[in-house]
Structure formats: C-alpha cells, structure tokens
Amino acid sequence: MTSYTYRKFKNKLFFWLSLGCVIIAVLPLLSILFEVVIKGAPQLSIQFITKPVGIMGQSAGGIGPAIQGTLILIGLTSLIGIPIGVISGIYLAEYGDNKYADSIRIINGVLTGVPSIVIGVTVFLAAVIFLRHFSPLAGGLALSIIAIPIIARTTEESLKLVPNSIREASLALGVHKWRTIISVDLPAAKSALITGILLAVARIAGETAPLIMTILGSQTFFEGFNQPMDALPLRIWRDAQLPYANFQAQAWGAALVLILIVLSLNIGVRIANRGRLVK
C-alpha cells in the first residue's frame, strides 16, 4: 500500500503537469499574436491598406485588393450562406423530431469535417469549369458550403434554448406556427443566433484552401464577377512563399489585419455574451 505522502506527491505532480500542458498549449497562441503584431504592425499605414500589390524586386505595395476581396467574400457568403443555414436550423429545431431531421443533423456534422480543400476542388469542378473563369461567386459559394452546416447547427441550438412556454403562449393566442417562429422564437433566440453567425463568419474569413481554385488571387481590385479576385488569407499564402523580404513583411501585415478581423469578431461575441450561459 503506497504511503499517503507519496499519493499526495503524485497529486501535486499531476497538478503541475496538467498546468504545464496548459502552458504548452497557450504558448503558441501567445507567440503567434506576438509575432504577428511585432512583424505586422510596422506595415500598417493608409497606403498599405489601400494600395494594390507591387512588383517583385521593387516595392511590395499594399493589400487593398485583399481586404476588399475578403469583405466581398464575407458579403457573398452572408447573402448565400446565412439564409440557407438559418432556415435549415429553423427546420431542425422547430420541425425536427423525425428521422429525416436526424439524418440531416448527422450530415451537417459530417460536412463540418470535410476538408476545405476538397470543397474548393468540388466548387472548381462544378462551377469554375462551368463558368470558364475564376469568380468571386465561386469563392462565395465555396465559403457558403463551409458556413451552412455551422450556421444550421448553431441556429438549431439557439432556437432550442428558447423556452417552450413562450412558443406555447404565442400559439395559444392563435398565432400561426410560422408567424410564431418568425416573430417570437427568432427574436428570443437573437443573441445566440447572431453569435453563431458571427463565429461562422470569423471562421470563413480565414479560410484559404477553398479560395485557391475559385478566386485564384489577383493584384488588382475587384474587376467583375468573372475575373479572379484577391483575399487576405490568399495574399498571406502567396506572399509567404516569395523570397523577397518586403513581400514577406507584407504577409505579416496582412496576417495582422486578418487576425484583427477574426479575433475582434470572436472576442466581440464573448464580451457581448458576458454573464450569459453560452457554450
């Protein structure tokens, strides 16, 4: 029988070990944030944010088109992905007590695990070949495919948080079910719903792989829905592979802008949900 002091020692040991694990996991995050800020902040300037990319071997220019591209993609994905995702989620929450809904739930779960490059290849084969050019629409479509399962699931969960008593009260007053859903349930679930949407947007803003084959990347601002376009994650990827130090620095600057967008969305929803019980 092991002695009590030995057991106490083991207790302490594993406390420190598990704390060590936490530190090991947090260190990369801190390092990334540190490096991105240190290397990216010197790049920030009005010019950097508005000018297009420069020539290799000369000035690196700026990331204006990349920022615009990311904003356009967010807009397109919101137009396509949010409605479809939310309405799917409404179905799953409000009408979803059957086998069909169960299988949709499983499919949604499975879709979130599909590698984004596979989605990119699919949209390339299905849309870009069909359209015969690279297109922001294809990029928006690919990102929407990523976003829809996520938004559907968070919408379902947020609607499930609405207490049944509210629904029943509305139905008892004679309001039709569909009106109830729109006028009562959705507003009640508003904050969780929006949280889910914003987190999905933050996620797709950082996706690169689906964009490689759908919008290709470009040096110029948006030129139309049948021309290639740039985006922040794409620009980071391209610049990181160049030997020129000024382009590599540009990659860090773009990374800083991207991280600011993503983190402010993430932290923003956290702060707004402070005190509320959200997972």
Binding site: F15, C21, A25, L29, V36, S88, V114, V121, T208, W237
Partner: protein
C-alpha cells in the same frame, strides 16, 4: 375553428427543403469527385492505392506516399496533442481554481479561432527555426543512424507538419474531453472521494475510466481535423513528390493528400489523367474524413447521451 394552413404549410415546406441543402451539398461533392476521378481509377487501377511513383511523364499515379504522409503526420499530431489535451481538460475540469477556468478555457479556444494560414505563416518563419535548433538538430546528431531521424533537417519536413497539426487540434480534443470529464456523474466522484482518494486518483481511476469512450471519440474527432487540415501543413511539409514523399524519415520533406492538392492541382492540365489523379486523391481524402467523422460522431454522441444527465 380551423386555422389557415397554407402559411404554415408553405413555411414548413420551405424549411424542409432548405434543410436538405446539407444533403445536396454532400451528394454534389461526392458525385463531382467520383466522376472526376474515374479516368485515373480506370487508368491506374489498384496501383493508385498501392503504388509510389507519381510521374506525369510516364503516366504513373500511385498515391500511397501521400496516404502514408497523412497517416504519419496525423499520428505525430495525435501523439503530441492527446496527452497535452487531456492535461488541459483535467486542469480545467477539476484541478484549476475556479477563477482561472474561464480565462484559460477562453485562451485555449482562441487557439482554434486563428486561421490555418496564419499558423502556417508563423510555422514557416518562427516555429520552424526553433524546432530545427532545439529538436531536430539534436535528434539528427545523436539519433541520425535511426532511419526515422535520418537526413539533414532544415525545417520543412514531416515532423514540423505534425507539430503544427498537434497545436491546431489541441483545442478541439481538449474541449470535448473536458465536457466528457465534466459529464461524469457527481455520485461517482463523491463515492471516490469518500473512500479517501486524492484528486488525481479520482481523475485517473474514475473520471478518465468512466469517460474512456467519450475521450476516444474526442481523439477521433481530432484525428479527423488533422487529416483534413490543409494550409498549415502545406506550408511546412516540403512538397515532396513520388517515392521521395514516403515518410520514412521524420526529418525529411513529405506530402499529405491535402497538401498535394493544394500544392500541385493548379498545375495540372485540365482534362488530363494527371488532373483526374488529383481529384482521385481528393476523393480518397473525402472518404477518409467522412468515415472518421461519422465514427467520431457516433462515439461522442453515444457517450454524452449515456453519461450526461445520469443519476445525481
């Protein structure tokens, strides 16, 4: 008094149809990839899964090296990430003072919010040199005779890709494990404490035991994420092709299925067999991630359903 049904019916139809979008998307993905890979599957047959040469000139397409590459990098990622994730899960579920729990769990989740390409950027310009200096060069110097550590490390290799994957899957494995551990019924824990077990003993002998299958599910989910991860791996794995991509040595460049497509698909001539070969790799990657995720889904759902809300 019969309520008007048309509005309800329309809305129900609308939502039902749109909910099917997930299924439609999945079918489109599977169909597109399947038809796109038929040419190479007809051409190479079984060689696609067993062969190692990848050569557009001699029209040989063996994807085995990349499958092995995915396997090895994911294995490295799991070996590194699972103990660390369990440590974090234990710390947050049981050992941490309650004031620290929210900030620390938040930090770990923030790790999941960082885009993959930024991980790749950081890995390429920061982490890589650190790993080369403190891990790979000693390994190569002292253990270089061992095939797994042969070669001159310069940072773009299988080990580095595995490490960055590990960092990226820690949030998901640790957060699900934490849920599993927290779902252990209080009665079990109280019973253990009442016979005099220390905190660690309760964790090791009761909680981890009880949550075994759920944690296994979390690990599988992490595996699924590691297999499908593209950008960070692409930037760190070194872009080897053909037999050179067989991951014998951890310190040499390699290639995973996902990184192969990201690196080289754009160069293939449209409509050629080579083109179809990349699509074939994509199809296989899809099948692997689908299987892993379906299995994980069932394991995690089952254990959360059984264990959660048990007798208080």
């Amino acid at each position: 008094m019969r309520p008007k049904l048309s509005g309800d019916l329309l809305f129900k139809i609308l939502t039902t149809v749109l909910a099917a979008s997930a299924a439609v998307i999945l079918i489109v993905i599977a169909y597109t990839l399947f038809t796109g890979s038929l040419p190479v599957l007809k051409w190479s047959g079984l060689y696609f899964f067993t062969g190692t040469k990848w050569n557009a000139v001699r029209m040989l397409y063996g994807a085995l090296p990349y499958m092995l590459g995915t396997l090895v990098t994911s294995a490295i990622a799991l070996i590194i990430a699972v103990p660390i994730s369990l440590g974090i899960a234990i710390f947050l579920a049981d050992m941490a003072p309650s004031a620290l729990r929210v900030p620390i769990s938040y930090l770990v989740e923030l790790l999941a919010a960082v885009p993959s390409v930024i991980f790749g950027l950081w890995g390429l310009f920061v982490m890589r040199f650190w790993v080369v200096k403190y891990i790979e060069t000693p390994l190569s110097t002292y253990l270089g005779w061992f095939p797994a550590f042969s070669g001159t490390p310069f940072g773009l290799d299988v080990l580095n890709a595995g490490i960055i994957l590990a960092i990226m899957i820690i949030p998901i494995v640790s957060s699900i494990s934490r849920e599993i551990i927290q779902a252990v019924p209080n009665s079990v824990k109280e019973g253990a404490y009442s016979i005099g077990a220390t905190r660690w003993e309760v964790i090791r002998n009761w909680e981890l035991n009880y949550g075994r299958s759920g944690i296994f599910g979390a690990v599988i989910l992490g595996l699924g994420r590691a297999v499908g991860e593209t950008m960070a791996v692409t930037m760190l794995i070194g872009n080897a092709v053909g037999p050179a991509a067989i991951p014998i040595s951890l310190l040499k460049p390699g290639q995973t299925m996902a990184s192969l497509i990201a690196n080289d698909f754009a160069e293939a001539t449209r409509g050629s067999i080579e083109y179809s070969a990349y699509i074939g790799v994509g199809l296989f990657l899809l099948l692997v991630t689908l299987s892993i995720n379906v299995i994980a889904h069932f394991i995690v759902a089952r254990s959360l359903k059984i264990k959660g809300g048990a007798v208080e």
